[in-house]
């Protein structure tokens, strides 16, 4: 068993203490140091060589975003950022993911400390272990590669026809998803004859900012899904955090049923709901820890044999286990590197219509 060395960066002594305790209790994790701001963190990364860093965003002297940029430039390693639940907090989180953070966690809120500490204790060790398996080299390579992301446009002003979509593209992503999805969404064509449904593991609040961000980057009209949304061509609907998104009788339904694979929204739940619809489905499973999506894709393929299954090439996924689980479980129609994913999905959709 490999021991994962962790550096905890936070300006609050209380948070440093809470996180350090959680790490100390886990027998596969070792706390190598704590740091009180970005500058301190950079020094300790050099001297202590941690495997994973957890880092607050709002800090004095050198804040989390600046520190992150310097870490990624000098000495790329998996960083998990902690951020507040507020709107500005979720925007800086998305920026952090853009700059190379592997994953993020909402900070315990002062309203219900006890409860949120318990939640942190449940999820933090898993996130650290997942982060340790991240292919961080991909982030560093990515920074040098020419970005194919087209210039951002203002939120949707294009008039989209309200044509019923003949094909549903059901996308699932987890850790590493936000950044990979930006590449995927910005390269999809505006005239894609399909509606896109996305379940990305993300807490509530973040999915709203994230859908707005994707909307400015993507030729599709992207929004956070609400109950009753219909399935129109050229639209993309994102499952809100803390809700499963399903399709019933041709429209979107949201429910807060039990978590599946420890998550809500769950990709499996979304895919199961597509078994009896009339439209054809293209399933796309991208980067992420665990195996959410594999069961659902298998069940969907079994009841709707004309379903097309696409995996992001695990070699291009920040965390490869979700696409790997899919490839093991279902015969895939395409296994595609991230840069080619949008093109291949759009080709397959057009073959179906």
């Amino acid at each position: 068993m490999k021991i994962i060395k962790v550096l905890v960066v936070d300006d609050s002594a209380l948070m440093r203490r809470v996180i350090s305790d959680i790490i100390a209790e886990h027998d596969q994790l070792e706390l190598v140091a704590t740091a009180r701001d970005g500058l301190d963190a950079l020094k300790k990364i050099e001297s202590k060589r941690p495997d994973v860093v957890t880092m607050d965003i709002d800090m004095p002297r050198l804040d989390g975003l600046q520190a992150l940029a310097m870490i990624m430039a000098r000495h790329p390693l998996p960083v998990i950022v902690l951020s507040s639940h507020t709107v500005s907090g979720s925007e800086s989180t998305l920026k952090a993911l853009e700059s190379g953070a592997v994953d993020f966690l909402p900070k315990p809120s002062m309203k219900s400390l006890q409860e949120s500490f318990a939640e942190l204790r449940d999820v933090l060790p898993g996130k650290i272990l997942a982060a340790a398996s991240a292919q961080v080299g991909l982030i560093a390579e990515k920074k040098q590669a020419v970005q194919v992301v087209p210039p951002a446009r203002p939120p949707s002003t294009i008039i989209f026809t309200d044509d019923k979509a003949p094909v549903i593209v059901a996308v699932g992503a987890s850790t590493g998803g936000p950044k990979a999805l930006e590449t995927f969404f910005s390269n999809l064509p505006a005239d894609l004859p399909a509606v896109l449904l996305l379940s990305q593991h993300m807490p509530p609040g973040f999915t709203y900012s994230f859908s707005q961000r994707l909307d400015t980057m993507s030729p599709l009209k992207v929004k956070e899904a609400v109950e009753g949304d219909r399935l129109f061509k050229g639209h993309a609907l994102i499952a809100p955090g803390n809700f499963h998104m399903v399709v019933e009788e041709g429209i979107i339904k949201l429910n807060s049923g039990p978590k599946v694979n420890y998550v809500r929204p769950s990709i499996d739940v979304m895919l199961h709901s597509l078994r009896n619809i009339s439209q054809k489905v293209v399933v796309v499973i991208m980067t992420g820890m665990g195996r959410d999506g594999a069961d659902g894709a298998q069940a969907l393929k079994k009841s709707k044999n004309d379903t097309i299954i696409v995996a992001q090439d695990p070699a291009t996924a920040l965390i490869s286990s979700m696409p790997e689980a899919l490839i093991k479980r279902v015969p895939c129609d395409a296994i595609v590197p991230l840069e080619k994913l949008a093109g291949e999905v759009s080709r397959l959709v057009r073959l179906l219509v």
């Binding site: 044999n305 097309i308 490839i327």
Partner: protein, 262 residues
């Protein structure tokens, strides 16, 4: 300056420039063919012909066309096509709603059209897209036209011959619905074309290796096989052989037919 190259010298220089191994041809025959070309096109001697090849892609491609002797026929190699029809395509159609197949080195189109005929027999023509490529412009032109003579069609089952082709003045024209599922495109498989190719359920790379030395062959096998999804098929010519196919995640099923592993 290097006026009197002998053929061995030409072969060596040509090989280090292109990776194309002329060794696989019978020397006398090849030398005669090249000398004929040099005389016809007025290049003078082997050394100046080589400089012309090096200096112009156009001349090089013309020479490739000249080297490639395209002789092929429909349903060439019955054993391989039996396996493709009865096993490979049955499996693929069960697992995939749409098939994307690449015929690498498609010559006059005999191979992609044969696949289309088989898929049509299984009522699955609308579920396939066949990408067919060759380096030879003339061959591609003929493939797009879909016009064949009787002896190329000897192995086509009679019931298919009568429904899929129209006879006119001793020539046989393949029906337009087969052309619709095939994209013919000029491609040189030594060029970096692979990153623009889609995921494949099957690739056929038959009789294109004979010109290349082992490293080049394996480079092509490596690149093509990466495009094939697990459970998909890689087909080579009946006289060809892949050494240690597990290096490419391929498992031999019968001679010339390999299954891609996860």
């Amino acid at each position: 300056m290097q006026g009197n190259w002998d053929f061995a010298k030409f072969k060596k220089e040509f090989y280090s420039f292109t990776g194309l191994d002329l060794e696989s041809y019978k020397d006398k025959q090849m030398e005669r063919r090249i000398n004929q070309l040099i005389t016809r096109e007025g290049y003078g001697d082997l050394a100046s012909f080589f400089r012309a090849l090096k200096g112009s892609n156009d001349v090089l491609h013309k020479f490739y066309n000249y080297l490639t002797i395209n002789t092929s026929s429909f349903y060439r190699d019955a054993k391989i096509y039996d396996y493709i029809e009865q096993k490979a395509l049955v499996n693929l159609l069960r697992n995939h709603e749409r098939l994307t197949i690449w015929s690498v080195g498609c010559s006059h189109g005999e191979e992609p059209y044969t696949l289309a005929l088989i898929l049509d027999k299984h009522k699955a023509l609308h579920r396939v897209k066949i990408l067919a490529s060759d380096i030879d412009d003339k061959a591609l032109e003929m493939a797009r036209e879909g016009r064949y003579v009787k002896n190329q069609l000897e192995k086509v089952p009679p019931e298919i011959l009568s429904t899929a082709f129209t006879e006119k003045n001793n020539a046989y024209y393949i029906d337009a619905r087969y052309k619709k599922v095939i994209d013919f495109n000029k491609k040189n498989f030594l060029d970096p074309i692979y990153s623009n190719m889609p995921s494949l359920q099957m690739a056929l790379c038959r009789n294109v290796f004979i010109y290349f030395k082992t490293e080049v062959q394996e480079w092509i096998i490596d690149h093509v096989s990466r495009l094939i999804v697990p459970g998909g098929y890689f087909i080579i010519g009946s006289a060809e052989f892949i050494n240690k196919p597990e290096r490419f995640k391929l498992e031999r099923q019968i001679p010339s037919v390999y299954l891609k592993q996860p």
